[in-house]
Symmetry: C2
Subunit: 314 residues, 2 copies
């Protein structure tokens, strides 16, 4: 008898669903829209319909499905209770019970950033590790901590909120969280643009980034493209970025001592060069007992969520 599991990545506009085998191969993946009307009350029934429909289509019997994992954009405790997911219109509710009731199958929910880390551990950049940290460098900086193969949820679902580690004392700008000097203010795509703008203003050095800025197209990608083209000012910006992120990851290492740091999110498209800038400063700041941690790029991209969700149940 074949065994299957489903992984669901619930986003604000789209629900991604994957059908997996327990070895971590995705057999099929597809998307449905996230219907947020009526305080998001249609979302879980839509997901249940999609899964039950796929099982009928593929003639998959219920007893050959190990379960359904789901990543949710909000804090989720170990019992599957989501404590408000504002993007979806949800208040407090138990996903494991509600979706499990609709499907009559085991369901396990987790926070989407943590679940993505589990996916990268299972089949991505952290494959083969059981102690891993995923740093997702996108518009903000998110993260997921894996200890002994399990996600670290924390007491209130804020485990892995590494973007808000205080990293700099003299920051005048306010972070989205209300604090000053959070890691996210330097290591996110937005943060890198901030660093670039500051550097362009404080330096008189020639740089291709000046024209790019004049065209209104300064971005994290533009900075790392310029680094690869040998632009000296862009390299200074990358050093600063590496210093802040390396320092932040060194602090994390003193807490959970991972085997590997996996760098994901849009910024990680810059490639291996990113790992070089970060690991250089990581080694400078970290406790010697954690010095051998590896730096790898995430490999699952937007599919990390469905992989990790499937791994929740198998």
């Amino acid at each position: 008898m074949n065994q299957y599991c489903f992984g669901v990545d619930l986003g604000g506009t789209t629900v991604k669903i994957g059908l997996f085998n327990p070895e971590g191969s995705v057999l099929e993946k597809w998307e449905i829209p996230t219907r947020k009307t009526d305080n998001g009350s249609k979302i879980l029934p839509d997901i249940a319909d999609a899964i039950l429909g796929k099982m009928e289509e593929r003639k998959i019997a219920k007893d050959s499905v190990i379960g359904v994992g789901i990543g949710v954009p909000g804090p989720v405790d170990d019992n599957g209770v989501v404590h408000k997911a504002v993007n979806l219109g949800w208040d407090v509710m138990n996903i494991n019970e509600i979706l499990g009731g609709l499907l009559d199958m085991p369901v396990k929910a987790g926070n989407d950033a943590n679940v993505a880390a589990l996916g990268e551990m299972w089949c991505g950049g952290g494959k083969g590790c059981s102690n891993m940290v995923l740093a997702t460098l996108g518009t903000g900086v998110g993260g997921g901590i894996i200890v002994n193969g399990r996600m670290v949820t924390g007491a209130t679902g804020a485990g892995g909120e590494i973007g808000h580690i205080h990293i700099a004392d003299e920051e005048p700008d306010t972070c989205g969280c209300g604090n000053h000097g959070c890691l996210e203010q330097y290591a996110s795509a937005t943060g890198i643009v901030r660093l670039a703008n500051r550097k362009l203003a404080s330096s008189s050095k020639e740089s291709t980034l000046r024209e790019i800025k004049a065209d209104g197209e300064l971005s994290a990608k533009a900075v790392f493209d310029a680094v690869k083209a040998g632009d000296a000012l862009a390299c200074e910006i990358a050093e600063e970025f590496g210093m802040y992120l390396g320092k932040g990851l060194a602090a994390i290492a003193c807490v959970v001592n991972p085997e590997v740091f996996v760098l994901g999110g849009g910024v990680s498209k810059a490639g291996e060069i990113l790992c070089e800038y970060v690991s250089k400063y990581y080694k400078e700041y970290v406790f010697h007992g954690c010095r051998e941690a590896q730096f790898k790029l995430a490999t699952l991209g937007n599919d990390a969520g469905i992989y990790g969700a499937a791994k929740l149940v198998c």
Copy 2:
């Protein structure tokens, strides 16, 4: 049939041993010397003799003992392998197997700082919690991280080495680990004396600490005694200490999001006032989702190790 377990805290000069019931009551505790001759080869046989002797004395049958836990001063992996314990003269060896063989009972070993955290969770300042951080403020700063009721060992046994989180960029002095600006340089007993010496040198304010320093008796205890007596300069030192430690614990919170921080070690004898100074700055630096963490004092003192060791097996 009564059930028992033993908790062993192996130190550089003394081995503490406790006989427990599985509910966490210590029935008897005693000490034997740590014989470090012959590269520490006598240590585990001595411990086995002490435990077997106690069982004979109390007529405890082998099948009523759940097991023996032991905390060791060195990095210990999840299989009980200690990777060099320089204080004991030990190279790499598997404590679970060797001591388990001598006793013919289940043995589980862990690093002493992590094991102490487990003890404080079981029966001390963190009782009732399953997500907890112990910060041990002694000559240095050690720590233990508990996630979902289990110790975080990490990839190389350096989980919970929170004393070496980089916390200050401008530190001229070198930490014992070789880095600059580690948390330990400000939040240990030694660190507090350093802060006090700097403050006394940079300020012209009156303070009882000046005479104490002249008598060569400046200590962390003297600083907090002066704080309690209302000494303004001592209060400034305590604010600085609170700022550094609060900032460090806020970084830890963004990783593992504990319910409670337990403050232990010699410095914690200053009492509740310590929690006030630390939590004030913690709240200033921490991510809002982790703001509600509590601060408590360790309550088990030097017995945390035997409690945690017993908890390893029951």
